[in-house]
C-alpha cells in the first residue's frame, strides 16, 4: 500500500500541493467536471425512472398500478374515451366499451417516489416511465397530473402476453355464490365466464333456483382482485398461484419482463 511510507517534511505542504496543482492545470486547460445544467444535460440511461406515461391503447383499466403503489399516489379515474380511442383500445378493453366510463390512472407527483412498481406490475406494459424528470412546479396542485395528461400514443404497439405479476389469482367458494355475474362484468381481461353450477340452490332469501358459477381462465388472469372487490356475497378470495390447482400460468411466464 502506498500509505505505508515514512511521512517527512515534504508531506506538510509540498506533496499534497502537487496533487492540487495537477488538478488545477487539468481543469483550467481542460474541461471541468461540472455540467452546466440548463444548457447541458446528462443523458439518463434507458432504464431511467422519471415521469410516468400511460399507453392508453394498451391500458385495460385493471387498477393494479394503484394497488401496488406504496404511497397510494396513483388513483384510477373514470375517463371519457372518444370513439377513436375506443376503437384503438386493445383486447380485453371491453370494459371500456361496456361501461360508459373507462378508468385510467392519474398520479399525484407530489407524493410519488418513483419506485417503479406501477411499471413493473403492469400486466400489459401500458404503464411506462420516461426519462423526463423536470417536474418542479410552483404550487402543489400543479403536481397532480390528470389521467389524460399522461396519455401517450405509439406507432406500433408491443403485443405482450398478459402476465400475472401479483402471483395470486381468485378462487371461488361455491357455497355463498349467488351467481350474480358481477365479477364477469368487471373483469378487465375477460377471463371469467359463467357456467353450470349447483341446481336448485336455496338462497338466503329462501328462494330456490339454479345458480351459475364463475369459472376462471388462469392463463389470462392478471390477479388484479377486482372480482374479489366487487363480489357482493364474499365468495371469492385470492390465493397464491401455486396453490390453485387449475393454474394455467407457465413458469416462464412469471419471469419474463414486461
Amino acid at each position: 500500500m502506498s500509505s505505508d511510507r515514512e511521512i517527512g517534511i515534504m508531506d506538510i505542504i509540498v506533496n499534497p500541493m502537487k496533487v492540487t496543482l495537477k488538478q488545477f492545470f487539468k481543469s483550467t486547460f481542460g474541461k471541468p467536471t461540472t455540467v452546466m445544467y440548463p444548457l447541458e444535460r446528462r443523458d439518463p440511461p434507458p432504464t431511467y425512472r422519471g415521469m410516468n406515461a400511460v399507453i392508453w391503447d394498451l391500458c385495460i383499466g385493471c387498477g393494479i398500478c394503484g394497488e401496488v403503489c406504496p404511497n397510494k399516489c396513483l388513483k384510477m379515474k373514470p375517463t371519457e374515451l372518444s370513439d377513436e380511442e375506443q376503437d384503438r383500445a386493445w383486447y380485453g378493453s371491453h370494459l371500456a366499451k361496456r361501461k360508459n366510463k373507462a378508468e385510467r390512472p392519474a398520479i399525484n407527483f407530489g407524493h410519488c417516489m418513483f419506485c417503479g412498481f406501477c411499471e413493473d406490475y403492469c400486466p400489459t406494459g401500458a404503464m411506462t416511465m420516461t426519462d423526463f424528470y423536470e417536474l418542479a412546479d410552483t404550487n402543489r396542485e400543479g403536481l397532480i397530473y390528470p389521467a389524460r395528461s399522461m396519455k401517450v400514443e405509439l406507432e406500433d404497439l408491443p403485443q405482450l402476453p398478459l402476465t400475472n405479476y401479483m402471483m395470486e389469482s381468485p378462487v371461488l367458494d361455491v357455497d355463498p355464490c349467488i351467481g350474480c355475474s358481477k365479477c364477469v362484468d368487471n373483469c378487465p381481461t375477460n377471463c371469467i365466464i359463467m357456467d353450470e353450477g349447483p341446481q336448485n340452490k336455496t338462497l338466503k332469501s329462501g328462494k330456490t333456483r339454479n345458480v351459475e358459477n364463475p369459472y376462471f381462465d388462469y392463463t389470462i388472469c392478471i390477479g388484479c382482485s377486482t372480482c374479489v372487490k366487487v363480489c357482493p356475497a364474499d365468495c371469492l378470495h385470492m390465493e397464491p398461484i401455486s396453490n390453485s390447482s387449475s393454474s394455467g400460468l407457465s413458469e416462464e411466464g412469471a419471469t419474463t419482463e414486461a
Partner: protein
C-alpha cells in the same frame, strides 16, 4: 513624483479653484460674525490646510486601491478554489445580463446563450455584496448590544486602517512614518480585542470558544512573528519600509543579483510565513472560525453586512500580511526596470496570496493544542536561531572577515 506631492498639487488646485471661492462666496452671503466659512478659506491657504487636504486625497487613493485589490483577491480565491476542485466557479458577468433580459421576456434559453456563461464571474462579488447589504442585521436578544456592535467596528476599522499604512513603492505611499512596519504590526494586533469582544458579546458558547481560541492564537503567534521580523530590522537598521527595501537591493549575491532577505534569513522567512498565516487566520490556522466544530466561531451570531465586512476584513488582513512579507523578505517593489515598481510590488503580493490560496484548499485544519505547541515549541526557538544568525552576520562576520583579510599582513 511621489504620491504625496501629486496629492498636494491636486489639493492646491482644488483649494484655489473650487474650495476657497466657494467658502468666500458663502462668507459673503451671511453676516461676517459667527460664520466659519471665511476662516476655513483662510486656513486652506496656509501650508497646514493644504497638507491636510493632500493627506485626505492620498488616503482615499490608497483606500480605493486597497478595496480594488480586495475584490480581485476574493475573485481569485473563488476561481482558483473552483479550478482546484474541478469546478467552474462563479460565472456571472456583464454578458449574463443578456440572458436575464431573455428570461424576463419569457424566452427559453437556447444554444445561443451558452456563450453567455463563459464569463469570468467578476460580477459575483457585486451580487454577494448587494445580497449581504439587503439582509437583516440580527442582534441576539441576550447579547450585550453595545459590545456586539463595537466588536465589528474595532475589527474592521483596524483592518481597513492597514490599507493606508504600507507603501506600494518609495514614491507611492499614503503615509511614510519612519517606524512604518511597527505601526503596521500595531494595527495588526488591535484585531484580537475586536474578536474577543464580539465573541464574548454574542452570548453564545461557540462564539465564546472561538473568541478565546482567536485571542490565544493571535497572542502566541505575535511573539515569533515579531522576533522573525527583528532579524530584518537588525540587518537594515531601521523600521522604515523604504530603508529595508533599499538595503535588500544594495546587498548583492552571485552575479550581482540582489540578495533579498529570504536568502540569508531563510529560517526567519519560513517562521514569518507560518506566523503571518496564523495572524490572518487562514487555513490551516483558521481555528477560531472552524466551521466543522464551532460553526464559524466568533462570527456565528453576526448577519448581513457585518458578517460580510468580517470576511472582507480578513481578506484585507491577508493582503496586508502578504504586503508586509513582500517588503521584509522579497525585496519589496524592487525589480527590473521597464515594469513600474508598484506593479512589481503587487505581483509579488499576488504571488504570495495565490500560494496561500493553494495552501488553503490543499491541507486540513490543525488543532488548537497543536497550533499552540507549534507556536511556542517550534517557531519561537527557530526565530531566536534566526536572530542569532543575523547577529552573527551583522556584528561578528564583518569583524571576522576584517580579521581574516588582515591575517596575511600579520604573518
Amino acid at each position: 513624483m511621489s504620491l504625496f506631492s501629486f496629492c498636494k498639487a491636486m489639493a492646491e488646485w482644488t483649494a484655489d479653484y473650487m474650495l476657497i471661492p466657494v467658502f468666500n462666496f458663502q462668507a459673503g452671503l451671511f453676516p461676517p460674525f459667527s460664520n466659519p466659512a471665511g476662516d476655513i478659506a483662510d486656513w486652506l491657504e496656509t501650508d497646514g490646510g493644504l497638507n491636510t487636504l493632500a493627506w485626505l486625497f492620498a488616503v482615499n487613493i490608497a483606500f480605493a486601491i486597497g478595496m480594488t485589490n480586495l475584490i480581485i483577491v476574493i475573485h481569485l480565491e473563488r476561481k482558483i478554489a473552483a479550478r482546484i476542485q474541478d469546478r467552474r466557479g462563479p460565472m456571472l458577468s456583464l454578458r449574463s445580463f443578456r440572458e436575464l433580459g431573455e428570461d424576463l421576456a419569457g424566452n427559453s434559453p437556447s444554444w445561443r446563450f451558452k456563450q453567455n456563461y463563459a464569463g469570468i464571474g467578476i460580477l459575483q462579488n457585486m451580487a454577494d455584496g448587494i445580497k449581504a447589504i439587503t439582509k437583516e442585521l440580527i442582534i441576539p436578544a441576550k447579547a450585550d448590544k453595545f459590545l456586539f456592535t463595537m466588536g465589528p467596528i474595532i475589527f474592521i476599522s483596524s483592518s481597513v486602517f492597514l490599507l493606508v499604512l504600507f507603501p506600494l513603492s518609495d514614491r507611492f505611499a499614503a503615509s511614510s512614518a519612519p517606524a512604518g512596519l511597527m505601526v503596521i504590526m500595531a494595527a495588526f494586533s488591535i484585531a484580537p480585542i475586536g474578536v474577543l469582544t464580539s465573541g464574548w458579546a454574542s452570548n453564545n458558547k461557540y462564539s465564546m470558544i472561538g473568541g478565546m481560541r482567536s485571542a490565544a492564537q493571535l497572542m502566541s503567534y505575535e511573539i515569533p512573528l515579531l522576533l522573525s521580523m527583528a532579524g530584518v530590522f537588525l540587518l537594515a537598521g531601521s523600521f522604515d519600509p523604504v530603508t529595508i527595501v533599499e538595503q535588500q537591493q544594495q546587498s548583492t549575491w552571485f552575479f550581482g543579483l540582489p540578495m533579498w532577505n529570504f536568502i540569508p534569513q531563510f529560517i526567519g522567512f519560513i517562521v514569518f510565513m507560518i506566523c503571518i498565516l496564523a495572524e490572518v487566520e487562514r487555513v490551516p490556522f483558521d481555528l477560531p472560525e472552524a466551521e466543522a466544530e464551532l460553526v464559524e466561531g466568533w462570527t456565528t451570531e453576526y448577519s448581513g453586512i457585518r458578517y460580510m465586512l468580517f470576511l472582507a476584513a480578513e481578506y484585507i488582513r491577508g493582503f496586508a500580511g502578504a504586503a508586509v512579507c513582500t517588503i521584509l523578505f522579497l525585496g519589496g517593489w524592487a525589480g527590473p526596470w521597464p515594469v513600474p515598481p508598484e506593479v512589481w510590488f503587487l505581483l509579488k503580493v499576488y504571488l504570495i496570496l495565490i500560494f496561500w490560496i493553494f495552501i488553503r484548499w490543499t491541507v486540513p485544519r490543525i488543532r488548537t493544542d497543536q497550533i499552540l505547541e507549534l507556536g511556542w515549541k517550534k517557531l519561537l526557538p527557530l526565530s531566536l536561531i534566526n536572530i542569532l544568525i543575523v547577529i552573527f552576520m551583522v556584528e561578528i562576520y564583518p569583524y571576522l572577515s576584517d580579521t581574516l583579510t588582515l591575517l596575511p599582513e600579520v604573518f
